[in-house]
Symmetry: C2
Subunit: 966 residues, 2 copies
C-alpha cells in the first residue's frame, strides 16, 4: 500500500493532530488540531506530508506515486465540507498552497493564493459574488504570483528580457497606472483590471514561452511543486544553515480553501488575543476591519477597530466594535476564543475572517506577550487552575524578567520615538537624562542640581570614572563590548547602559557628539533603552513594574526548584544584601579589586597604587600593610551579610596598570604619598604598560611574582573569617585563584594559603577553621588539563568571559570594531559574550567539568562569568551538571528562573524516558518505594545530569572516563 501522503482537515474532523508536527509541519498540525476541537469553523483543506517532500526529492523532483490520487480524494472531502467544487463554473472553490516545515522558517518559502481561477471559473465567481472587481483583482494577483513562483522559480524557465517575470508584470501595471494618473492599486477600474489580466497573459507567454495555465488542476499541481521546490531555494538553504535546521526534513504543503473578508460589508477580518498581550489582563482583546483582507489589519493603511467594548480606550472610544457591529458573530468568536484558550491552556493569538456573515478561524497559536503580561498571565492561569506550577514557571522567558526588574521605556512611546543610533545592550532597562561628557561633570551636575538625571557618554570607561558612572542614570560608550568595563560595572549595579555605539563620534573638548552628521551637545536630553541598545532623542516616559506583587509571588515559586544554585557576583556588603533580596544563595564572585572602586574607597585605592608602584618587595610590603585593615573589614562585612551562605573571594585579578592614575591630580597625590617625583610616578606607571594586558601580568601571575600580595589578601580573608567564627557566625571562606594555566601555579599559591591559615588558626586559637582554596577555569589550557587542576583545587569556577576571549581570540574591549559585520553577515549567530558558545567554548567547559570530576567525582563546580545570568547559558551549565551559576545581583532572578526551567525540562524528560519500561526500570523501582512526589523531586537532579551527559559530546565523555583511569 502507498504511504499516506495526504491528511485532510475540516471542521470537527482532521486526520492529523498537534503532535504530528514532524510529519505535517507546524502549520498543518495546528490546523488539524484546531479542526478537531468541536465548534471551530476552519476552512477545509489537506496537508501533504513532509515525507512526501522528501520522497519528491528522492524521485528527481517528481510527485511520488499515489500522491495525486490522495490529493484528489482530499479534494473531494474539502469540496464536501465547503459545499463548493474546485473548478466549478457556477460556484468555484479557490485554494491556497502554503508551505509548513517542522520549524517555522518565516518568509523563506513560497505561497500561491487564489489557485483555481481561470477563464472557466471566473464568470461563475463573478455571478456568485457579484463583485467583478474582486475577481479580476484576485486573478491578476494569481498570475503575478504563479508566473514568478511556479513558472520562473520552480520550473526554472528563464524569462526573456533580462528581468524576472514578476518585475516585468509590475512594470506593465505601473505603466497602466501612470497612463491613467493613478497612485494606488485600488484606483484601477474593473476594465483596467480586465485589460491588465489580458496583458499579463500575453507577457507571460512571450517572456516565458509558455502560457499561464488555464486549468485549475494544472495550477494546483504547479503550486504544490513550487512549495516543494522552495524548500531548496537559496534563501531557505541559507536560513537553515544559520538556524541549524537539517536539510533533509522537507516541508509539508497545506492546500486550503480560500475565504475572503473583502467581499463587502458582511465580510471582515481581524486578529485577536484571548488576553491582553501587553499587560496580561484577562480580557478578550483584538482588532478588526470590515471588508478587508488579513494584511490590511497589519498594514496600517486603515485604522483597525476594537473587537469589543471592554477593551476600548480613549483613542478608540469613537470606533465601532465587532461586538456592536456583528453581535452574533462576535458571540461566536468569543465562544471560540474561550474554547481555544482552554484547549491550548495558553493565551492564543487568533486570526479570523468573516466571509458574507460566516465566521472562519484561520489560525490560532500561542501569543507573544510582554514580560509583565507573561508573569501576570502565568500567575492568573495558575490561580484559575488552567495550568500547573511547572507550566506556569515555563511560561515566562527568563529574559522577560528584566522588564520587571528595571524601569522600562513605555513601548507605545518608544515606537514613535526619534532614534539617534544603536549600540550593544549592556545594562538593562530604560533611562533618560542630560548628556555629560566626563565623570566629573556627571557628579557635579547632579550634585549642583544642574540636572536631576544625567547620561554619561564616554569613548570607554575606566575605574577612574566610577563615581561619575554611579551618579549617572545611564551610561553610553562608543567603544567596548558586552563585557567591557562599563558593561560589567553597569550590569553589576543593574544600571541602564549601552556600549560600543560606534556611530557616536565623541569630542570631549567641545563637549559634542556627532551621530552620522547629527550633532548633540552637552545638556541635550537623550533616552537609552539598555535592553535593546537604542538611543533616542529627548525624554521618553517610563514604566516601573518592580513593585508588582504578582512578580514577587512568581519569584517565590521559583524557589521550589533548586537543582542548581544561583549565587551573585557581589563586591560590597551592600551588593551582598541586594543579592540576598533577589534570592542569591551565596556569592560566587567577590572581586577583591572592586574594593578600590567607588565611594569611600579613595584611601584604599591610594594604598593599592602605592603597592603597585613600589620598587622592590620592601616598599611593597609597607603599602600592603596599610591596605590590610580596610580589606579585612570589607571582607568581614560582606561575609557577615551573606552569613550561612558561601562566599567565594577571588584574589586580585586585573593587570596592575589598570589602577595606575593617568590624570595629573591622581599622579600628584600618589607622588606626595610615596615621597617621589611626579616624573617618577609617570615613569613607573609607564613601566607597567602592556601591549596586551588581557594576556599579561595579571591574576595568579601577580601572586607568583609578588607572593606578599597573595599572603596579605589571604590573611585578610582568613582573619575576617576567623573573627566571624569566633563571633559565632558560620563561615567557610572560599579563596579563588584566578587566571591559572597550570597546576603548579595552584600548588605555589596554596602553599601560601595553607601557611597563612595555620598562622591564623594559631592567632585566633581555632582548632577547626575550614576554608576552601579553588581556582577559576578561564584559560583554555586549564580546562584541557582540569584533571591535573582538580588534584589540587577544592573547587572550580569557570570564568567564561576570559574563556570566550581566549577561545575565540576576541578582546571584549576591541571587538566593537568587527562584531557588527560578523553578526550582520551571520558569521556568528550571536555575540559569544552574551550567550555562551556551546559548540566551541562549551567544549572547554565540558572538558573542564568531566576531567575535573574524573579525579574528584564530587568536585564543586560553578561559573562566575557574565554568562551565569543568561538563560540559554544557564540551561547549558545545568546540562553539564554544574553546582551553581553566579551572576550580577540584578540577573539573579533571571538565572533562577532559567535554572528552574532547565530542571523542569530535565524532570519531564526523565519522566518520559521512565515511561519507556526498559529504559528506567531501576529508577522506577526506587521511586516506587517513596512517596511519588518527593521521590520525583529528589531524583530530578541526578536524572538531569544523566540526560546532560548523554547530550554532551561523546568525545568529552570518553575523555573524562579515560582520565579517571590514569
Amino acid at each position: 500500500m502507498a504511504k499516506k501522503y495526504v491528511y485532510s482537515f475540516s471542521q470537527g474532523k482532521a486526520d492529523g493532530r498537534a503532535d504530528m508536527k514532524n510529519l505535517l509541519g507546524g502549520k498543518g498540525a495546528n490546523l488539524a488540531e484546531m479542526c478537531n476541537i468541536p465548534g471551530i469553523p476552519v476552512p477545509a483543506g489537506f496537508t501533504i506530508t513532509t515525507e512526501c517532500c522528501t520522497d519528491y526529492y528522492a524521485h528527481k523532483a517528481r510527485f511520488p506515486e499515489g500522491m495525486m490520487e490522495q490529493v484528489e480524494k482530499g479534494m473531494k472531502i474539502m469540496e464536501k465540507a465547503m459545499g463548493r467544487k474546485f473548478g466549478d463554473t457556477k460556484d468555484p472553490l479557490l485554494l491556497s498552497c502554503r508551505s509548513g516545515a517542522r520549524e517555522s522558517m518565516p518568509g523563506m518559502m513560497e505561497t500561491v493564493l487564489n489557485v483555481g481561477l481561470c477563464s472557466a471559473t471566473i464568470p461563475g465567481l463573478i455571478a456568485k459574488t457579484g463583485n467583478e472587481r474582486f475577481v479580476y483583482d484576485s486573478y491578476r494577483r494569481l498570475m503575478m504570483m504563479y508566473s514568478d513562483v511556479v513558472m520562473e522559480k520552480a520550473e526554472g524557465i528563464e524569462p526573456k528580457g533580462g528581468h524576472g517575470i514578476r518585475l516585468q508584470l509590475e512594470h506593465i501595471m505601473d505603466e497602466l497606472k501612470d497612463k491613467n494618473g493613478y497612485k494606488a492599486d485600488t484606483a484601477m477600474t474593473v476594465e483596467d483590471l480586465k485589460d491588465l489580466c489580458e496583458a499579463f497573459k500575453v507577457k507571460i507567454k512571450s517572456s516565458l514561452g509558455k502560457s499561464f495555465p488555464d486549468d485549475p488542476w494544472e495550477q494546483l499541481k504547479g503550486g504544490i511543486g513550487a512549495v516543494f521546490k522552495s524548500w531548496n531555494g537559496k534563501r531557505a538553504i541559507a536560513y537553515r544553515n544559520i538556524e541549524g535546521i537539517p536539510h533533509d526534513w522537507g516541508t509539508a504543503v497545506n492546500v486550503q480553501a480560500m475565504v475572503f473578508g473583502n467581499m463587502g460589508e458582511t465580510s471582515a477580518t481581524g486578529v485577536a488575543f484571548t488576553r491582553n498581550p501587553a499587560n496580561g489582563e484577562r480580557k478578550f482583546f483584538g482588532e478588526y476591519l470590515v471588508n478587508a483582507q488579513g494584511e490590511d489589519v497589519v498594514a496600517g493603511i486603515r485604522t483597525p477597530e476594537p473587537i469589543n467594548e471592554a477593551t476600548k480606550n480613549e483613542h478608540t472610544a469613537h470606533l465601532i466594535s465587532l461586538e456592536k457591529k456583528m453581535p452574533r458573530l462576535y458571540d461566536q468568536l468569543d465562544e471560540i476564543q474561550k474554547k481555544l484558550e482552554k484547549h491550548y491552556k495558553n493565551m492564543q493569538d487568533l486570526e479570523f475572517t468573516i466571509q458574507e456573515n460566516k465566521l472562519w478561524m484561520l489560525q490560532t497559536r500561542n501569543g507573544k506577550r510582554t514580560g509583565i503580561a507573561a508573569v501576570n498571565m502565568a500567575m492568573d492561569m495558575l490561580e484559575e487552575r488552567l495550568i500547573d506550577l511547572e507550566t506556569a514557571l515555563t511560561r515566562v522567558k527568563p529574559v522577560q524578567l528584566d522588564e520587571l526588574l528595571h524601569p522600562v521605556i513605555d513601548p507605545v512611546a518608544e515606537k514613535k520615538a526619534d532614534l539617534l543610533g544603536k549600540g550593544l545592550p549592556a545594562g538593562p532597562g530604560g533611562a533618560f537624562g542630560a548628556l555629560v561628557f566626563t565623570a566629573e561633570d556627571a557628579v557635579k551636575w547632579v550634585r549642583d542640581g544642574k540636572a536631576k538625571n544625567v547620561i554619561l557618554i564616554r569613548e570607554e570607561t575606566n575605574p577612574e570614572d566610577i563615581e561619575g558612572m554611579r551618579a549617572a542614570q545611564g551610561i553610553l560608550t562608543a567603544r567596548g563590548g558586552m563585557t567591557s568595563h562599563a558593561a560589567l560595572v553597569a550590569r553589576g549595579w543593574g544600571k541602564c547602559c549601552i556600549v560600543g555605539a560606534a556611530d557616536f563620534e565623541i569630542d570631549v573638548t567641545t563637549r559634542t557628539v556627532t551621530i552620522k552628521g547629527r550633532i548633540l551637545k552637552e545638556g541635550d536630553i537623550v533616552t537609552l533603552n539598555g535592553t535593546k541598545g537604542c538611543v533616542y532623542s529627548g525624554a521618553l516616559p517610563m514604566i516601573d513594574a518592580t513593585e508588582n506583587p504578582r512578580f514577587k509571588a512568581f519569584l517565590s515559586l521559583i524557589d521550589r526548584y533548586k537543582g542548581m544554585k544561583v549565587r551573585a557576583n557581589a563586591d560590597t556588603p551592600k551588593d551582598a544584601a541586594v543579592a540576598r533580596a533577589f534570592g542569591a544563595e551565596g556569592i560566587g564572585l567577590f572581586r577583591i579589586e572592586h574594593m578600590f572602586y567607588g565611594e569611600g574607597s579613595e584611601q584604599s585605592l591610594g594604598f593599592l597604587r602605592q603597592m603597585i608602584m613600589s620598587n622592590g618587595s620592601g616598599e611593597r610590603k609597607e603599602a600592603l600593610d596599610k591596605l590590610f585593615p580596610s580589606m579585612k573589614k570589607d571582607l568581614k562585612d560582606t561575609m557577615k551579610a551573606m552569613a550561612g551562605f558561601p562566599v567565594t573571594i577571588r584574589l586580585l585579578d586585573p593587570p596592575l596598570h589598570e589602577f595606575v592614575p593617568t590624570k595629573p591630580d591622581g599622579q600628584d597625590d600618589l607622588a606626595r604619598a610615596m615621597g617621589i617625583s611626579i616624573d617618577e610616578v609617570k615613569k613607573r606607571g609607564e613601566g607597567l604598560h602592556e601591549v596586551n594586558p588581557m594576556l599579561g601580568h595579571r591574576g595568579v601571575r601577580l601572586g607568583i611574582t609578588y607572593p606578599e600580595l597573595t599572603e596579605m589578601q589571604v590573611r585578610a580573608i582568613l582573619e575576617a573569617g576567623a573573627e566571624l567564627v569566633k563571633e559565632g557566625t558560620k563561615v567557610v571562606p572560599e579563596i579563588m585563584i584566578p587566571v591559572t594555566c597550570t597546576v603548579n601555579e595552584l600548588k605555589d599559591q596554596q602553599a601560601i594559603v595553607d601557611e597563612v591559615a595555620a598562622d591564623v588558626k594559631r592567632k585566633y586559637g581555632l582548632k577547626n577553621f575550614d576554608y576552601l582554596c579553588g581556582t577559576m577555569l578561564e584559560i583554555p589550557r586549564a580546562c584541557l588539563l582540569a584533571n591535573e587542576m582538580a588534584e589540587v583545587a577544592d573547587f572550580f569556577s569557570f570564568g567564561t568571559n576570559d574563556l570566550t576571549q581566549m577561545g575565540f581570540g576576541f578582546s571584549r574591549d576591541d571587538m566593537g570594531s568587527f562584531i557588527a559585520p560578523y553578526l550582520q553577515k551571520k558569521i556568528l549567530a550571536e555575540d559569544p559574550f552574551l550567550s555562551i558558545d556551546q559548540a566551541g567554548v562549551g567544549q572547554l567547559v565540558k572538558y573542564g567539568v568531566e576531567r575535573g570530576r574524573s579525579v574528584k567525582p564530587k568536585l564543586k563546580i560553578g561559573i562566575c562569568g557574565e554568562h551565569g545570568g543568561e538563560p540559554e547559558s544557564v540551561k547549558f551549565f545545568y546540562s553539564l551538571g554544574l553546582d551553581y551559576v553566579s551572576c550580577s545581583p540584578f540577573r539573579v532572578p533571571i538565572a533562577r528562573l532559567a535554572s528552574a526551567q532547565a530542571e523542569i525540562a530535565a524532570k519531564s524528560a526523565s519522566k518520559k524516558s521512565s515511561a519507556k519500561p526498559a529504559a528506567a526500570k531501576k529508577s522506577a523501582k526506587k521511586s516506587a518505594k517513596k512517596s511519588s512526589k518527593k521521590a520525583a523531586k529528589k531524583s530530578a537532579k541526578p536524572a538531569a545530569k544523566k540526560v546532560a551527559k548523554k547530550a554532551a559530546k561523546p568525545a568529552a565523555k570518553k575523555a573524562a572516563k579515560k582520565g579517571k583511569k590514569k
Copy 2:
C-alpha cells in the same frame, strides 16, 4: 621462592645488563654492563633492585623478607672479587652506598661513603695503608655523612640544639680549626682528626641520643635504608613532580667496594674522553691528578695534568702526562678506552682511579660534546663503520647545528668574560659591536664608518626599526618574549638577538643603559651570546664553523629521511633563495605584511598606510589599487624562486595600527600623500588603537570588514601565479586565511577567492589553474571545531605562536614581566613559546589534526609557528602525522634533522613491534613481498603515524572518531 633483589657485579661477571635500567636503575645497569666487558677492572659490588625499594615502602619501610640474606650472599661475592673482607680487622673492605633511579635525579637522593670504618677496622686499615691521616679523615667524613643522612634524616631522630646534626659537627670542626688558626681542612693534623672523631662521637650521642654505630653491618643496613628513604625525601618528590617521573618507580641501591686515589704517589684519579669533546678529534683525551680523589680533578684547587703527550698544548706542555708517569697503567687505560668506545659505539666519558698501582674503572658513559664535535664524530664513526647512517644522524642534537650555522663566541673566552646581564635567547650565535640606541643611529654609524659592528639596543622594536635592525650585528631589547617583533625578525634573518633583558634600563635621551647600577653609554662595546641570552662587556673572539665540509656532508645525509617535509617561513625572493639553499622544500609561511618592512619597501608601506587610514571603502580601494602592482611583483618573484615547490601565502594578519606611523616624519609624509592634516592622521591613527591588539581587529577579521582588502591580495597572488603558469612555471599558490575561529569566516573569504579566481582564469585564458585555499589553526576554537573547518579548507597550518598565546593566556610581548619567576620556580618546565606545550596546547593541535582528518582523511596539515624549528616540537608534530613543518630559513637544517630523527625513531619502534609476531602480522606479510629495505623505508611513515596515534591521548582519538560519524 623469594624475588631476586640483589644483582652482583664484578670484573668480567655481572648478573645485570645495560638494558635492565628499570630494575637496576641507570647506574646499576651501567656498572653491570661494564663488568661484562672482558678486561675492564671495576670495583665489585651489588645492586639492590628498584623493586626492592617498592616492596620496602609496601612493607611500612622495612626491608622485605629475603633481602638481607641476598645482601650477605652478594657481599661474599664482592669480598671474593676484591680480596678483602667487610669488617675484617686486618684488611677491611670499605663500601659506598649510592642511589640510582631509572632516570637520573642528580643530587636529589642520598649517598653514604666509607661504610665499614669502625673501631675494629681502623687499626687494620692504618696498618695496611700506612696512612693514619687518610683513615681518620675518612672516618670523620663517614660520621658526618652518616649521622646526617641515616640517623637524622632516614631514622627521623630530631637533634637537640635546634640545628641539624651536620651543622653541629661542622661547628665543632670549625672551632678546632679556629683554635689552631687553620684555614683549610687539610691543615688538620692526624691528632686533630683523632680528637675530632672522638668529639663527633660524643656530640652524636648527646644530640641524637644514640651512638654512632660501631658495627659495619649496622652501618650498611643504615646506609641501604637511608637511600631507600631518600627516594621519598622532599627534594626528590618535588623534583619528580617537576620532571614528571612517577613516584612509584623507586630507586635501586648500589653497594660497591671503595677504591682510593689518594693513597700516595702510586695512586691517582682522572677523567677522560675517548675523543676530543670540544672538536671531535680522534684522540684519547683527559686529565688526571696523582694522590687525589675524584672531586679534586673537577674542583680546580690543583691543576690537573694531561693524560697523554698527544693532547698536550702550549699551556700544558710542561706538565707530566700519565703516559709518562705510569706508562704501564696508561697503556692499560688506553686499551680499555678503545674497548669501551667499541662496545658502546660512542665517545665515552670515563672516570678512573689508580689505587696503589692498580687501575679501576669507576664509570663510563656517553660523553657530552659540542655541536662541531658531534658532527665530526658522527661523520668519523660512520666512515670508520663503527656506526650506521641512522645512528650517525641521531648522534647530533638538532639544536647543536645552531653552532655550525652561525659564528659563536669562543667558549674558552666566554668562560672568563664579564657578564653584564641576561635576557631571552631570541636569535642564535654570537655578535659584538658598539652600542647604539636608535635604529637611525645603527644605520648612520655603519654607513659613516663610525663603527664596523654595532649592537642595537631598544626597549622593544617595531617595523619602523627594520633598517637599523638589519644594519646591526646584533639586537638587544629590554622587553618582549621569544616571539616578539625583534625575536621574529632576527630569527628570520639568522641574526644574533637577545630580548626581554629586563635588567637593562634604557634611557634613549641620554643614550645610556643601566644594568643593576652599572652604566654603559653609546659606543661602548658589548658581546651578545644569542644562543644563551648572555650579554658581556667588551668584544669576545668568535668561531665560525659554517664552512666545515663535514657539516655539509652531514646535512646531505639528512635528505634520505623525508617523512615530514620542512618548509621555510620566507617573505622575500632573497629569503626564499636562502631557504632553498638550506634544503627547504617550499614556503610554509609567506607573510604578506612583511613586504612592507625593510629596504625598498618605503613606497608600498606608504600605500598600505594610506589604505589603513582611509575613510570608507572608496578611499580604501584607491590605496589598494596603488598597492597592487608591487605586491604582485614580489609574489611572482618569490614563487619563481621556489618554482616547483609549494608556496603558502598568508593574507594580511597583524592589527592595522602596527603600520601606523608614530613618528612626526612618517605622519607628515602620510598627511601629504593623503592630502589631509597631520592632526587628522594622528586622529585616525588613534582611532585604530586597541586595548589588546592580539585579540583585536586582525587576520581574517580585516578581510570580513574590508572585503576589498582580501580581494586585492588574492588577485595579486593569483595573477602572479597565472603569469608564471603562462610562462611555463609550475605553480600552485596556497592562499592561507589567518585567525579564523569559525567556518563561516572561511566560507565568506573563500567566496571572494573563488570569484577572483574565475576572473583571473578568464583574464589569462587559463582553462585549468589550480590554487588551494586553506586556513591557519591558531585560535583554540578553530582546533576544537576543526571538523567543521575541514569541510571548507583545502589545508590546515597550525599557528602555534597564537595558539600558545591563547591556550595559556600569555601575551608574547608582555610575558617578560613574569616568565622569569615562572621558570625559576619551575612552575613551567620551559618557555612554551620555545618548545610546544605538548600536554596542553598540544591537545589542541591533536584535536585539530584528528578532527580535521575525520572529515578529510588526506587533509594536508602543516605548522608554521616558531615551534616549526624546535626539535622537540618537530618530533611531536611528526608523531601527530603532520605533512610538514615550516620555520625560519636558518632553522631549516635543525628541523630537517629533528624530523629525520623522529622518522628513524618511529622506524625502529615499528621494527621492534613487528618483531612481536602477533602485533604486526599484516605488515610483516606485506613487507615480505618487497625487498626488505625498501619496504621498511616506505612503511616508516604510516607506522610512525600509528605509533603516534597510540601515544596520543585516547580522549583525543575517540573524539576524532566520533567526529567522523557526524
